[in-house]
Protein backbone atom coordinates (compact mmCIF):
# COMPACT_ATOMS: atom_id res chain seq x y z
CA UNK A 1 0.00 0.00 0.00
CA UNK A 2 2.83 2.42 0.92
CA UNK A 3 4.47 1.72 -2.42
CA UNK A 4 1.21 2.33 -4.25
CA UNK A 5 0.66 5.60 -2.37
CA UNK A 6 4.11 6.81 -3.39
CA UNK A 7 3.56 5.89 -7.03
CA UNK A 8 0.11 7.46 -7.06
CA UNK A 9 1.46 10.63 -5.41
CA UNK A 10 4.20 10.82 -8.03
CA UNK A 11 1.51 10.48 -10.71
CA UNK A 12 -0.39 13.33 -9.03
CA UNK A 13 2.73 15.50 -9.08
CA UNK A 14 3.46 14.75 -12.74
CA UNK A 15 -0.16 15.48 -13.71
CA UNK A 16 -0.05 18.78 -11.85
CA UNK A 17 3.21 19.76 -13.55
CA UNK A 18 1.79 18.77 -16.94
CA UNK A 19 -1.42 20.69 -16.23
CA UNK A 20 0.44 23.84 -15.23
CA UNK A 21 2.48 23.76 -18.44
CA UNK A 22 -0.68 23.28 -20.50
CA UNK A 23 -2.43 26.03 -18.56
CA UNK A 24 0.44 28.44 -19.09
CA UNK A 25 0.87 27.71 -22.79
CA UNK A 26 -2.88 27.77 -23.46
CA UNK A 27 -3.28 31.16 -21.82
CA UNK A 28 -0.32 32.62 -23.72
CA UNK A 29 -1.72 31.28 -26.98
CA UNK A 30 -4.91 33.27 -26.54
CA UNK A 31 -4.90 36.37 -28.69
CA UNK A 32 -5.17 39.74 -26.96
CA UNK A 33 -2.31 41.42 -25.10
CA UNK A 34 -2.77 41.47 -21.32
CA UNK A 35 -1.23 44.96 -21.40
CA UNK A 36 -4.46 46.12 -23.07
CA UNK A 37 -6.22 45.50 -19.80
CA UNK A 38 -3.87 47.94 -18.09
CA UNK A 39 -3.81 50.79 -20.58
CA UNK A 40 -6.58 53.10 -21.74
CA UNK A 41 -7.87 53.00 -25.32
CA UNK A 42 -5.53 55.00 -27.57
CA UNK A 43 -2.47 54.59 -25.36
CA UNK A 44 0.83 55.44 -27.03
CA UNK A 45 3.22 52.61 -27.99
CA UNK A 46 5.53 53.77 -25.19
CA UNK A 47 2.76 53.49 -22.61
CA UNK A 48 1.88 49.99 -23.84
CA UNK A 49 5.55 48.99 -23.73
CA UNK A 50 5.81 50.32 -20.18
CA UNK A 51 2.68 48.40 -19.19
CA UNK A 52 4.07 45.24 -20.75
CA UNK A 53 7.31 45.72 -18.89
CA UNK A 54 5.58 46.30 -15.54
CA UNK A 55 3.72 43.00 -15.74
CA UNK A 56 6.63 41.14 -17.33
CA UNK A 57 4.84 40.13 -20.53
CA UNK A 58 7.76 41.47 -22.60
CA UNK A 59 10.09 38.78 -21.30
CA UNK A 60 10.64 35.45 -23.10
CA UNK A 61 8.01 32.78 -22.40
CA UNK A 62 10.32 30.26 -20.65
CA UNK A 63 11.43 33.04 -18.30
CA UNK A 64 7.82 34.01 -17.56
CA UNK A 65 7.03 30.38 -16.90
CA UNK A 66 9.90 29.79 -14.45
CA UNK A 67 9.01 33.07 -12.74
CA UNK A 68 5.42 31.85 -12.30
CA UNK A 69 6.59 28.44 -11.03
CA UNK A 70 8.89 30.15 -8.53
CA UNK A 71 5.97 32.21 -7.26
CA UNK A 72 3.78 29.12 -7.02
CA UNK A 73 6.45 27.27 -5.04
CA UNK A 74 6.37 30.02 -2.43
CA UNK A 75 2.58 29.92 -2.30
CA UNK A 76 2.12 33.16 -4.24
CA UNK A 77 -0.49 33.16 -7.00
CA UNK A 78 0.60 36.53 -8.38
CA UNK A 79 -1.00 39.95 -8.46
CA UNK A 80 -4.09 40.92 -10.40
CA UNK A 81 -3.40 43.20 -13.40
CA UNK A 82 -6.65 45.02 -12.87
CA UNK A 83 -7.06 45.48 -9.10
CA UNK A 84 -3.34 45.19 -8.21
CA UNK A 85 -4.38 42.96 -5.30
CA UNK A 86 -2.75 39.59 -4.64
CA UNK A 87 -4.70 36.74 -6.25
CA UNK A 88 -4.16 34.18 -3.48
CA UNK A 89 -6.25 35.83 -0.71
CA UNK A 90 -8.96 36.69 -3.25
CA UNK A 91 -9.22 33.02 -4.29
CA UNK A 92 -9.33 31.95 -0.64
CA UNK A 93 -12.12 34.46 0.08
CA UNK A 94 -14.14 33.09 -2.86
CA UNK A 95 -13.67 29.53 -1.59
CA UNK A 96 -15.72 30.56 1.48
CA UNK A 97 -18.73 30.60 -0.83
CA UNK A 98 -17.85 27.97 -3.42
CA UNK A 99 -16.67 25.17 -1.12
CA UNK A 100 -19.77 25.10 1.17
CA UNK A 101 -21.98 25.50 -1.92
CA UNK A 102 -20.33 22.60 -3.75
CA UNK A 103 -20.03 20.24 -0.79
CA UNK A 104 -23.59 20.81 0.45
CA UNK A 105 -24.98 20.32 -3.06
CA UNK A 106 -22.85 17.19 -3.50
CA UNK A 107 -23.97 15.63 -0.20
CA UNK A 108 -27.62 16.46 -0.90
CA UNK A 109 -27.35 15.03 -4.43
CA UNK A 110 -25.85 11.77 -3.13
CA UNK A 111 -28.52 11.48 -0.43
CA UNK A 112 -31.22 11.87 -3.08
CA UNK A 113 -29.63 9.93 -5.94
CA UNK A 114 -28.49 6.73 -4.21
CA UNK A 115 -31.90 5.64 -2.84
CA UNK A 116 -33.69 7.02 -5.92
CA UNK A 117 -31.34 5.27 -8.35
CA UNK A 118 -31.60 2.00 -6.46
CA UNK A 119 -35.40 2.21 -6.43
CA UNK A 120 -35.49 3.11 -10.12
CA UNK A 121 -33.58 -0.12 -10.86
CA UNK A 122 -35.04 -2.47 -8.26
CA UNK A 123 -38.63 -1.34 -8.86
CA UNK A 124 -38.24 -0.60 -12.56
CA UNK A 125 -41.47 -2.38 -13.44
CA UNK A 126 -43.60 -0.32 -11.02
CA UNK A 127 -45.03 3.09 -11.81
CA UNK A 128 -42.85 4.90 -9.30
CA UNK A 129 -39.69 3.20 -10.59
CA UNK A 130 -40.54 4.38 -14.09
CA UNK A 131 -41.45 7.82 -12.73
CA UNK A 132 -38.02 8.13 -11.07
CA UNK A 133 -36.29 7.25 -14.35
CA UNK A 134 -38.49 9.76 -16.17
CA UNK A 135 -37.77 12.52 -13.66
CA UNK A 136 -34.03 11.94 -13.96
CA UNK A 137 -34.39 12.01 -17.77
CA UNK A 138 -36.11 15.39 -17.37
CA UNK A 139 -33.50 16.58 -14.88
CA UNK A 140 -30.54 16.09 -17.20
CA UNK A 141 -32.30 18.05 -19.94
CA UNK A 142 -33.04 21.13 -17.80
CA UNK A 143 -30.51 23.95 -18.10
CA UNK A 144 -29.26 24.66 -14.59
CA UNK A 145 -29.83 28.42 -14.91
CA UNK A 146 -33.45 27.94 -15.95
CA UNK A 147 -34.11 25.69 -12.95
CA UNK A 148 -32.54 28.42 -10.82
CA UNK A 149 -34.84 31.04 -12.35
CA UNK A 150 -37.90 28.90 -11.68
CA UNK A 151 -36.89 28.22 -8.08
CA UNK A 152 -36.29 31.95 -7.52
CA UNK A 153 -39.69 32.80 -9.00
CA UNK A 154 -41.47 30.22 -6.85
CA UNK A 155 -39.65 30.28 -3.51
CA UNK A 156 -38.18 33.80 -3.39
CA UNK A 157 -40.46 36.09 -5.39
CA UNK A 158 -43.84 34.41 -4.88
CA UNK A 159 -43.54 32.70 -1.51
CA UNK A 160 -40.89 35.07 -0.15
CA UNK A 161 -39.30 32.36 1.97
CA UNK A 162 -35.72 32.82 0.84
CA UNK A 163 -33.57 35.58 -0.66
CA UNK A 164 -33.55 35.66 -4.47
CA UNK A 165 -29.79 36.08 -4.66
CA UNK A 166 -26.67 37.73 -3.32
CA UNK A 167 -24.50 36.86 -0.35
CA UNK A 168 -24.08 38.82 2.93
CA UNK A 169 -21.31 41.45 2.71
CA UNK A 170 -19.60 40.17 5.86
CA UNK A 171 -19.61 36.58 4.54
CA UNK A 172 -20.19 34.07 7.32
CA UNK A 173 -20.36 36.82 9.99
CA UNK A 174 -24.06 36.07 10.30
CA UNK A 175 -24.22 32.31 9.70
CA UNK A 176 -28.02 32.21 9.48
CA UNK A 177 -28.11 34.84 6.69
CA UNK A 178 -25.26 33.17 4.79
CA UNK A 179 -27.00 29.82 5.12
CA UNK A 180 -30.30 31.24 3.83
CA UNK A 181 -28.48 32.75 0.85
CA UNK A 182 -27.09 29.34 -0.10
CA UNK A 183 -30.26 27.24 0.25
CA UNK A 184 -31.66 27.84 -3.24
CA UNK A 185 -28.30 27.62 -5.06
CA UNK A 186 -27.52 24.35 -3.23
CA UNK A 187 -30.91 22.88 -4.14
CA UNK A 188 -30.50 23.99 -7.78
CA UNK A 189 -27.12 22.29 -8.18
CA UNK A 190 -28.16 19.23 -6.18
CA UNK A 191 -31.26 18.63 -8.32
CA UNK A 192 -29.36 18.81 -11.61
CA UNK A 193 -26.48 16.73 -10.23
CA UNK A 194 -28.72 14.05 -8.75
CA UNK A 195 -30.55 13.68 -12.07
CA UNK A 196 -27.43 12.38 -13.77
CA UNK A 197 -26.28 10.47 -10.68
CA UNK A 198 -29.59 8.60 -10.53
CA UNK A 199 -28.89 7.23 -14.00
CA UNK A 200 -25.45 5.95 -12.98
CA UNK A 201 -26.70 4.44 -9.72
CA UNK A 202 -29.60 2.85 -11.60
CA UNK A 203 -27.38 1.29 -14.23
CA UNK A 204 -24.84 0.08 -11.62
CA UNK A 205 -27.70 -1.46 -9.62
CA UNK A 206 -29.09 -3.15 -12.74
CA UNK A 207 -25.66 -4.69 -13.37
CA UNK A 208 -25.61 -6.06 -9.83
CA UNK A 209 -29.20 -7.31 -9.93
CA UNK A 210 -28.45 -9.32 -13.07
CA UNK A 211 -25.12 -10.66 -11.80
CA UNK A 212 -24.22 -14.28 -11.21
CA UNK A 213 -22.59 -13.65 -7.83
CA UNK A 214 -25.80 -12.17 -6.43
CA UNK A 215 -27.76 -15.20 -7.63
CA UNK A 216 -25.14 -17.51 -6.10
CA UNK A 217 -25.30 -15.68 -2.78
CA UNK A 218 -29.09 -15.98 -2.82
CA UNK A 219 -28.85 -19.68 -3.69
CA UNK A 220 -26.58 -20.16 -0.69
CA UNK A 221 -29.38 -18.83 1.47
CA UNK A 222 -28.54 -15.15 1.94
CA UNK A 223 -31.54 -12.89 2.17
CA UNK A 224 -31.80 -10.30 -0.60
CA UNK A 225 -30.89 -7.53 1.82
CA UNK A 226 -27.74 -9.17 3.16
CA UNK A 227 -26.63 -10.31 -0.32
CA UNK A 228 -27.01 -6.74 -1.58
CA UNK A 229 -25.21 -5.37 1.47
CA UNK A 230 -22.29 -7.81 1.31
CA UNK A 231 -21.81 -8.15 -2.44
CA UNK A 232 -24.02 -5.71 -4.29
CA UNK A 233 -23.06 -2.48 -2.56
CA UNK A 234 -19.35 -3.10 -2.92
CA UNK A 235 -19.59 -3.92 -6.61
CA UNK A 236 -22.02 -1.16 -7.52
CA UNK A 237 -20.12 1.54 -5.66
CA UNK A 238 -16.93 1.28 -7.75
CA UNK A 239 -18.26 2.85 -10.99
CA UNK A 240 -20.47 5.24 -9.01
CA UNK A 241 -17.53 6.58 -6.98
CA UNK A 242 -15.59 7.22 -10.14
CA UNK A 243 -18.52 9.28 -11.49
CA UNK A 244 -18.93 11.00 -8.12
CA UNK A 245 -15.33 12.20 -8.28
CA UNK A 246 -15.83 13.70 -11.73
CA UNK A 247 -19.14 15.29 -10.72
CA UNK A 248 -17.66 16.85 -7.59
CA UNK A 249 -14.72 18.24 -9.52
CA UNK A 250 -16.80 19.70 -12.32
CA UNK A 251 -19.33 21.21 -9.91
CA UNK A 252 -16.57 23.07 -8.12
CA UNK A 253 -15.89 25.03 -11.30
CA UNK A 254 -19.19 24.50 -13.07
CA UNK A 255 -20.94 26.49 -10.37
CA UNK A 256 -20.14 29.58 -12.46
CA UNK A 257 -23.60 29.68 -14.06
CA UNK A 258 -25.43 29.11 -10.78
CA UNK A 259 -23.28 31.74 -9.13
CA UNK A 260 -24.31 34.10 -11.91
CA UNK A 261 -28.04 33.30 -11.49
CA UNK A 262 -27.90 33.92 -7.74
CA UNK A 263 -25.27 36.70 -7.89
CA UNK A 264 -22.93 34.82 -5.54
CA UNK A 265 -19.30 35.94 -5.11
CA UNK A 266 -17.73 32.52 -5.71
CA UNK A 267 -14.75 31.08 -7.55
CA UNK A 268 -16.70 30.77 -10.81
CA UNK A 269 -17.67 34.42 -10.88
CA UNK A 270 -14.09 35.42 -10.08
CA UNK A 271 -12.97 33.43 -13.11
CA UNK A 272 -15.72 34.93 -15.29
CA UNK A 273 -14.64 38.47 -14.37
CA UNK A 274 -10.99 37.53 -14.88
CA UNK A 275 -11.74 36.21 -18.36
CA UNK A 276 -13.78 39.28 -19.29
CA UNK A 277 -10.94 41.59 -18.20
CA UNK A 278 -8.05 39.51 -19.65
CA UNK A 279 -6.66 39.40 -16.12
CA UNK A 280 -4.13 36.58 -16.62
CA UNK A 281 -2.90 36.17 -13.03
CA UNK A 282 -6.52 35.78 -11.83
CA UNK A 283 -7.44 33.29 -14.60
CA UNK A 284 -4.20 31.39 -14.04
CA UNK A 285 -4.61 31.38 -10.26
CA UNK A 286 -8.23 30.21 -10.28
CA UNK A 287 -7.56 27.53 -12.89
CA UNK A 288 -4.45 26.33 -11.05
CA UNK A 289 -6.28 26.02 -7.73
CA UNK A 290 -9.19 24.22 -9.37
CA UNK A 291 -6.90 21.90 -11.33
CA UNK A 292 -5.23 21.03 -8.05
CA UNK A 293 -8.67 20.33 -6.54
CA UNK A 294 -9.69 18.24 -9.56
CA UNK A 295 -6.51 16.14 -9.35
CA UNK A 296 -6.74 15.69 -5.57
CA UNK A 297 -10.37 14.60 -5.85
CA UNK A 298 -9.34 12.09 -8.54
CA UNK A 299 -6.59 10.86 -6.22
CA UNK A 300 -9.01 10.36 -3.34
CA UNK A 301 -11.56 8.65 -5.60
CA UNK A 302 -8.83 6.23 -6.76
CA UNK A 303 -7.84 5.45 -3.17
CA UNK A 304 -11.43 4.77 -2.12
CA UNK A 305 -12.02 2.57 -5.19
CA UNK A 306 -8.87 0.58 -4.47
CA UNK A 307 -9.94 0.13 -0.91
CA UNK A 308 -13.32 -1.20 -2.03
CA UNK A 309 -12.26 -3.32 -5.00
CA UNK A 310 -9.15 -5.49 -4.54
CA UNK A 311 -9.10 -6.22 -8.28
CA UNK A 312 -8.06 -2.61 -8.94
CA UNK A 313 -5.01 -2.90 -6.72
CA UNK A 314 -2.76 -3.93 -9.59
CA UNK A 315 -3.53 -0.72 -11.43
CA UNK A 316 -2.29 2.80 -10.89
CA UNK A 317 -5.54 4.61 -11.48
CA UNK A 318 -9.08 3.25 -11.35
CA UNK A 319 -10.48 6.14 -13.33
CA UNK A 320 -13.62 5.96 -15.44
CA UNK A 321 -12.22 3.38 -17.78
Amino acid sequence: MARYLLRRLAFLGVSLALASVVLFVLLRMLPGDPANALTAVGASPEQIAAARHSIGSDRPLPEQFTHWLGQLASGDLGTSFVSSLPVGPEVVARLDVTVPLTLAAFVLAVLVAVPAGFTAAYRRHTWYGALLSGVSQLGIAIPVFWLGMILIAVFALNAGWLPSGGFPQDGWGDPAEAFRALVLPVVTIALVMSASLIRYVRSATLDVLGSDYLRTARAHGSSFGSAMWRHGLRNASVPVISVLGIELASTLLGAVVVESVYALPGLGSLLATGIAQHDYPVIQGVLFVSTLAVLVIGFLADLVQRFIDPRLRGRLSGGAR
Binding site: S15, A19, L30, W146, V256, S260, I283
Partner: protein, 288 residues
Protein backbone atom coordinates in the same frame (compact mmCIF):
# COMPACT_ATOMS: atom_id res chain seq x y z
CA UNK B 1 -36.69 -26.71 -17.04
CA UNK B 2 -40.30 -26.82 -18.09
CA UNK B 3 -41.76 -26.30 -21.52
CA UNK B 4 -43.04 -22.82 -20.75
CA UNK B 5 -39.57 -21.70 -19.69
CA UNK B 6 -38.21 -22.72 -23.06
CA UNK B 7 -40.93 -20.81 -24.82
CA UNK B 8 -40.42 -17.54 -22.96
CA UNK B 9 -37.28 -16.31 -24.73
CA UNK B 10 -38.96 -16.71 -28.07
CA UNK B 11 -42.01 -14.80 -26.89
CA UNK B 12 -40.09 -11.92 -25.33
CA UNK B 13 -38.34 -10.26 -28.28
CA UNK B 14 -41.42 -8.70 -29.94
CA UNK B 15 -42.43 -7.05 -26.67
CA UNK B 16 -38.92 -5.76 -26.05
CA UNK B 17 -38.63 -4.42 -29.54
CA UNK B 18 -41.85 -2.45 -29.20
CA UNK B 19 -40.62 -0.79 -26.01
CA UNK B 20 -37.32 0.08 -27.65
CA UNK B 21 -38.91 1.65 -30.66
CA UNK B 22 -41.28 3.60 -28.39
CA UNK B 23 -38.30 5.41 -26.81
CA UNK B 24 -36.83 6.01 -30.22
CA UNK B 25 -40.16 7.16 -31.68
CA UNK B 26 -40.94 9.63 -28.86
CA UNK B 27 -37.42 10.99 -29.12
CA UNK B 28 -37.64 11.37 -32.88
CA UNK B 29 -40.99 13.17 -32.62
CA UNK B 30 -39.73 15.65 -29.99
CA UNK B 31 -36.42 16.38 -31.71
CA UNK B 32 -38.15 16.37 -35.10
CA UNK B 33 -40.68 19.00 -34.01
CA UNK B 34 -37.93 21.39 -32.94
CA UNK B 35 -35.97 20.65 -36.11
CA UNK B 36 -39.12 21.41 -38.11
CA UNK B 37 -39.57 24.69 -36.22
CA UNK B 38 -35.97 25.55 -37.03
CA UNK B 39 -36.48 24.68 -40.70
CA UNK B 40 -39.65 26.80 -40.94
CA UNK B 41 -37.85 29.72 -39.29
CA UNK B 42 -35.37 29.78 -42.15
CA UNK B 43 -38.19 30.15 -44.70
CA UNK B 44 -40.80 32.12 -42.80
CA UNK B 45 -41.13 34.07 -39.56
CA UNK B 46 -44.33 35.65 -38.21
CA UNK B 47 -42.60 39.02 -37.71
CA UNK B 48 -39.27 40.61 -38.56
CA UNK B 49 -36.66 39.89 -35.87
CA UNK B 50 -36.25 43.61 -35.18
CA UNK B 51 -39.93 44.57 -35.48
CA UNK B 52 -40.71 46.30 -32.18
CA UNK B 53 -44.25 47.29 -33.15
CA UNK B 54 -45.92 45.11 -30.49
CA UNK B 55 -46.80 46.36 -27.02
CA UNK B 56 -44.22 45.84 -24.31
CA UNK B 57 -44.46 42.54 -22.40
CA UNK B 58 -47.90 41.75 -23.86
CA UNK B 59 -49.37 38.44 -22.83
CA UNK B 60 -50.21 35.78 -25.43
CA UNK B 61 -52.90 36.70 -27.98
CA UNK B 62 -53.76 39.70 -30.16
CA UNK B 63 -51.63 38.91 -33.20
CA UNK B 64 -48.77 37.60 -31.05
CA UNK B 65 -49.27 33.91 -30.32
CA UNK B 66 -46.84 33.93 -27.37
CA UNK B 67 -46.92 37.66 -26.61
CA UNK B 68 -44.03 40.11 -26.81
CA UNK B 69 -40.80 40.83 -24.94
CA UNK B 70 -39.80 44.00 -23.10
CA UNK B 71 -38.88 45.75 -26.35
CA UNK B 72 -42.15 44.80 -28.04
CA UNK B 73 -40.63 42.10 -30.24
CA UNK B 74 -42.75 39.05 -31.09
CA UNK B 75 -41.86 36.11 -28.83
CA UNK B 76 -42.82 33.39 -31.29
CA UNK B 77 -40.43 34.91 -33.86
CA UNK B 78 -37.62 34.90 -31.32
CA UNK B 79 -38.34 31.40 -30.10
CA UNK B 80 -38.31 30.14 -33.71
CA UNK B 81 -34.99 31.87 -34.44
CA UNK B 82 -33.73 30.38 -31.19
CA UNK B 83 -34.63 26.88 -32.35
CA UNK B 84 -32.52 27.43 -35.47
CA UNK B 85 -29.57 28.61 -33.39
CA UNK B 86 -29.92 25.66 -31.01
CA UNK B 87 -29.95 23.12 -33.85
CA UNK B 88 -27.01 24.85 -35.54
CA UNK B 89 -25.07 24.91 -32.26
CA UNK B 90 -25.72 21.21 -31.67
CA UNK B 91 -24.85 20.10 -35.20
CA UNK B 92 -21.80 22.36 -35.47
CA UNK B 93 -20.32 21.34 -32.12
CA UNK B 94 -20.88 17.64 -32.71
CA UNK B 95 -19.30 17.84 -36.17
CA UNK B 96 -16.17 19.48 -34.74
CA UNK B 97 -16.08 17.11 -31.77
CA UNK B 98 -16.43 14.08 -34.06
CA UNK B 99 -13.81 15.23 -36.57
CA UNK B 100 -11.13 16.02 -33.97
CA UNK B 101 -12.17 13.40 -31.42
CA UNK B 102 -12.18 10.45 -33.81
CA UNK B 103 -8.83 11.40 -35.36
CA UNK B 104 -7.15 11.95 -31.98
CA UNK B 105 -8.76 8.87 -30.45
CA UNK B 106 -7.61 6.56 -33.25
CA UNK B 107 -4.07 7.97 -33.08
CA UNK B 108 -4.03 7.64 -29.27
CA UNK B 109 -5.18 4.03 -29.54
CA UNK B 110 -2.15 3.23 -31.69
CA UNK B 111 0.25 4.99 -29.33
CA UNK B 112 2.22 2.79 -26.95
CA UNK B 113 3.94 3.15 -23.60
CA UNK B 114 4.64 6.60 -22.19
CA UNK B 115 3.05 8.38 -25.18
CA UNK B 116 -0.19 6.54 -24.51
CA UNK B 117 -0.01 7.33 -20.77
CA UNK B 118 0.70 11.00 -21.43
CA UNK B 119 -2.09 11.31 -23.99
CA UNK B 120 -4.68 9.69 -21.76
CA UNK B 121 -3.60 11.70 -18.70
CA UNK B 122 -3.88 14.85 -20.83
CA UNK B 123 -7.38 13.85 -22.00
CA UNK B 124 -8.41 13.03 -18.41
CA UNK B 125 -7.38 16.48 -17.21
CA UNK B 126 -9.10 18.14 -20.14
CA UNK B 127 -12.29 16.19 -19.43
CA UNK B 128 -12.23 17.06 -15.74
CA UNK B 129 -12.65 20.69 -16.80
CA UNK B 130 -16.27 21.59 -17.37
CA UNK B 131 -17.07 22.16 -21.05
CA UNK B 132 -18.52 25.54 -20.18
CA UNK B 133 -15.28 26.84 -18.67
CA UNK B 134 -13.11 25.77 -21.57
CA UNK B 135 -15.69 27.36 -23.83
CA UNK B 136 -15.65 30.58 -21.77
CA UNK B 137 -11.88 30.84 -22.20
CA UNK B 138 -12.05 30.37 -25.95
CA UNK B 139 -15.03 32.68 -26.42
CA UNK B 140 -13.34 35.38 -24.33
CA UNK B 141 -10.21 35.15 -26.46
CA UNK B 142 -12.17 35.42 -29.72
CA UNK B 143 -15.37 37.42 -29.87
CA UNK B 144 -18.79 36.46 -28.59
CA UNK B 145 -20.39 34.99 -31.71
CA UNK B 146 -22.26 31.79 -32.42
CA UNK B 147 -19.22 30.56 -34.37
CA UNK B 148 -16.90 31.04 -31.38
CA UNK B 149 -19.34 29.32 -29.07
CA UNK B 150 -19.73 26.35 -31.43
CA UNK B 151 -15.98 26.06 -31.96
CA UNK B 152 -15.37 26.23 -28.21
CA UNK B 153 -18.00 23.65 -27.30
CA UNK B 154 -16.86 21.37 -30.12
CA UNK B 155 -13.23 21.55 -29.00
CA UNK B 156 -14.13 20.87 -25.37
CA UNK B 157 -16.26 17.90 -26.37
CA UNK B 158 -13.65 16.48 -28.71
CA UNK B 159 -11.64 15.40 -25.63
CA UNK B 160 -14.59 13.30 -24.43
CA UNK B 161 -15.06 11.78 -27.88
CA UNK B 162 -11.31 11.15 -28.22
CA UNK B 163 -11.15 9.25 -24.93
CA UNK B 164 -14.16 7.12 -25.84
CA UNK B 165 -12.79 6.39 -29.32
CA UNK B 166 -9.39 5.47 -27.86
CA UNK B 167 -10.95 2.86 -25.55
CA UNK B 168 -13.24 1.48 -28.25
CA UNK B 169 -10.47 1.25 -30.85
CA UNK B 170 -8.11 -0.47 -28.41
CA UNK B 171 -10.79 -3.05 -27.73
CA UNK B 172 -11.34 -3.67 -31.46
CA UNK B 173 -7.60 -3.81 -32.21
CA UNK B 174 -7.26 -6.75 -29.82
CA UNK B 175 -9.73 -8.79 -31.87
CA UNK B 176 -8.71 -11.69 -34.09
CA UNK B 177 -10.28 -10.26 -37.23
CA UNK B 178 -7.86 -7.32 -37.07
CA UNK B 179 -4.91 -9.73 -36.91
CA UNK B 180 -6.48 -11.61 -39.82
CA UNK B 181 -6.88 -8.44 -41.86
CA UNK B 182 -3.28 -7.41 -41.11
CA UNK B 183 -1.79 -10.81 -41.96
CA UNK B 184 -3.68 -10.86 -45.23
CA UNK B 185 -1.86 -7.68 -46.16
CA UNK B 186 -4.37 -4.91 -45.47
CA UNK B 187 -2.68 -1.59 -44.72
CA UNK B 188 -3.30 0.19 -41.38
CA UNK B 189 -5.34 3.10 -42.84
CA UNK B 190 -7.48 0.64 -44.74
CA UNK B 191 -7.92 -1.58 -41.66
CA UNK B 192 -9.06 1.41 -39.63
CA UNK B 193 -11.53 2.54 -42.29
CA UNK B 194 -13.07 -0.81 -43.15
CA UNK B 195 -12.74 -2.82 -39.92
CA UNK B 196 -12.23 -0.54 -36.91
CA UNK B 197 -14.56 2.38 -37.57
CA UNK B 198 -17.59 0.28 -38.61
CA UNK B 199 -17.26 -1.71 -35.38
CA UNK B 200 -17.09 1.26 -33.03
CA UNK B 201 -19.78 3.17 -34.93
CA UNK B 202 -22.88 2.09 -32.91
CA UNK B 203 -21.44 3.17 -29.54
CA UNK B 204 -20.00 6.30 -31.10
CA UNK B 205 -23.29 7.43 -32.66
CA UNK B 206 -25.09 7.08 -29.33
CA UNK B 207 -22.41 9.15 -27.61
CA UNK B 208 -22.51 11.81 -30.33
CA UNK B 209 -26.28 12.10 -29.90
CA UNK B 210 -25.76 12.68 -26.16
CA UNK B 211 -23.08 15.26 -27.00
CA UNK B 212 -25.60 17.05 -29.22
CA UNK B 213 -27.89 17.57 -26.22
CA UNK B 214 -24.99 18.68 -24.04
CA UNK B 215 -23.84 21.11 -26.75
CA UNK B 216 -27.30 22.69 -26.93
CA UNK B 217 -27.28 23.10 -23.14
CA UNK B 218 -23.74 24.52 -23.17
CA UNK B 219 -24.61 27.04 -25.90
CA UNK B 220 -27.63 28.16 -23.88
CA UNK B 221 -25.41 28.53 -20.80
CA UNK B 222 -22.86 30.59 -22.73
CA UNK B 223 -25.61 32.80 -24.17
CA UNK B 224 -27.07 33.20 -20.69
CA UNK B 225 -23.68 34.51 -19.54
CA UNK B 226 -23.63 36.86 -22.55
CA UNK B 227 -20.97 34.86 -24.40
CA UNK B 228 -23.11 33.39 -27.19
CA UNK B 229 -24.67 34.72 -30.38
CA UNK B 230 -24.94 38.54 -30.17
CA UNK B 231 -28.28 40.38 -30.67
CA UNK B 232 -30.50 40.42 -32.66
CA UNK B 233 -29.94 36.65 -32.89
CA UNK B 234 -32.31 35.39 -30.25
CA UNK B 235 -30.59 32.42 -28.64
CA UNK B 236 -32.79 30.65 -26.10
CA UNK B 237 -30.18 31.22 -23.40
CA UNK B 238 -30.09 34.96 -23.98
CA UNK B 239 -33.89 35.16 -24.16
CA UNK B 240 -34.08 33.49 -20.76
CA UNK B 241 -31.48 35.84 -19.33
CA UNK B 242 -33.42 38.86 -20.62
CA UNK B 243 -36.71 37.50 -19.28
CA UNK B 244 -35.33 36.64 -15.83
CA UNK B 245 -36.20 40.06 -14.34
CA UNK B 246 -39.80 39.85 -15.55
CA UNK B 247 -40.43 36.19 -14.72
CA UNK B 248 -43.41 36.87 -12.44
CA UNK B 249 -44.99 39.70 -14.45
CA UNK B 250 -44.61 38.20 -17.95
CA UNK B 251 -43.92 34.48 -17.53
CA UNK B 252 -44.33 33.56 -21.22
CA UNK B 253 -40.90 34.92 -22.16
CA UNK B 254 -39.19 33.02 -19.36
CA UNK B 255 -41.08 29.78 -19.95
CA UNK B 256 -41.37 29.26 -23.73
CA UNK B 257 -37.63 29.14 -24.57
CA UNK B 258 -36.91 26.95 -21.54
CA UNK B 259 -39.63 24.46 -22.37
CA UNK B 260 -38.49 24.14 -26.00
CA UNK B 261 -34.89 23.72 -24.86
CA UNK B 262 -35.86 20.92 -22.47
CA UNK B 263 -37.99 19.23 -25.15
CA UNK B 264 -35.14 19.29 -27.67
CA UNK B 265 -32.59 17.89 -25.21
CA UNK B 266 -34.98 15.21 -23.91
CA UNK B 267 -35.83 14.30 -27.50
CA UNK B 268 -32.19 13.87 -28.49
CA UNK B 269 -31.40 11.92 -25.30
CA UNK B 270 -34.33 9.58 -25.95
CA UNK B 271 -33.09 9.06 -29.51
CA UNK B 272 -29.68 8.17 -28.04
CA UNK B 273 -31.24 5.74 -25.56
CA UNK B 274 -33.38 4.16 -28.24
CA UNK B 275 -30.43 3.84 -30.61
CA UNK B 276 -28.27 2.25 -27.90
CA UNK B 277 -30.88 -0.36 -27.13
CA UNK B 278 -31.40 -1.07 -30.82
CA UNK B 279 -27.77 -1.04 -31.95
CA UNK B 280 -25.94 -2.57 -29.01
CA UNK B 281 -26.74 -6.25 -28.43
CA UNK B 282 -24.97 -6.25 -25.03
CA UNK B 283 -27.25 -3.66 -23.43
CA UNK B 284 -30.23 -5.19 -25.19
CA UNK B 285 -29.71 -8.38 -23.21
CA UNK B 286 -28.79 -6.68 -19.95
CA UNK B 287 -31.34 -3.91 -19.67
CA UNK B 288 -34.61 -5.60 -20.38
Amino acid sequence: MTGTDLLTPAQLPPKRRSRRSATLAVGCVLAGLIALLALVSVLWLPYDAEDTSGGRLDGPGGGHLLGTDKLGRDLLTQVMTGSRIAVEAGLGSVTIAAAIGITLGVLAAFAQGWLDDTLSAFLDILIAFPTLLLAMLIVAARSATLGSAVLAIGLAQSAVVARLVRILVKRVLAQDYITAARTSGTSWPRTVLSHVLPNIWPTLVVNLALQFGLAVLAEAGLSYLGLGAPPPNASWGRMLQEAQATFTTAPAGALAPGILLVLLVIGVNLVADGLRDTLDPATRRRRS
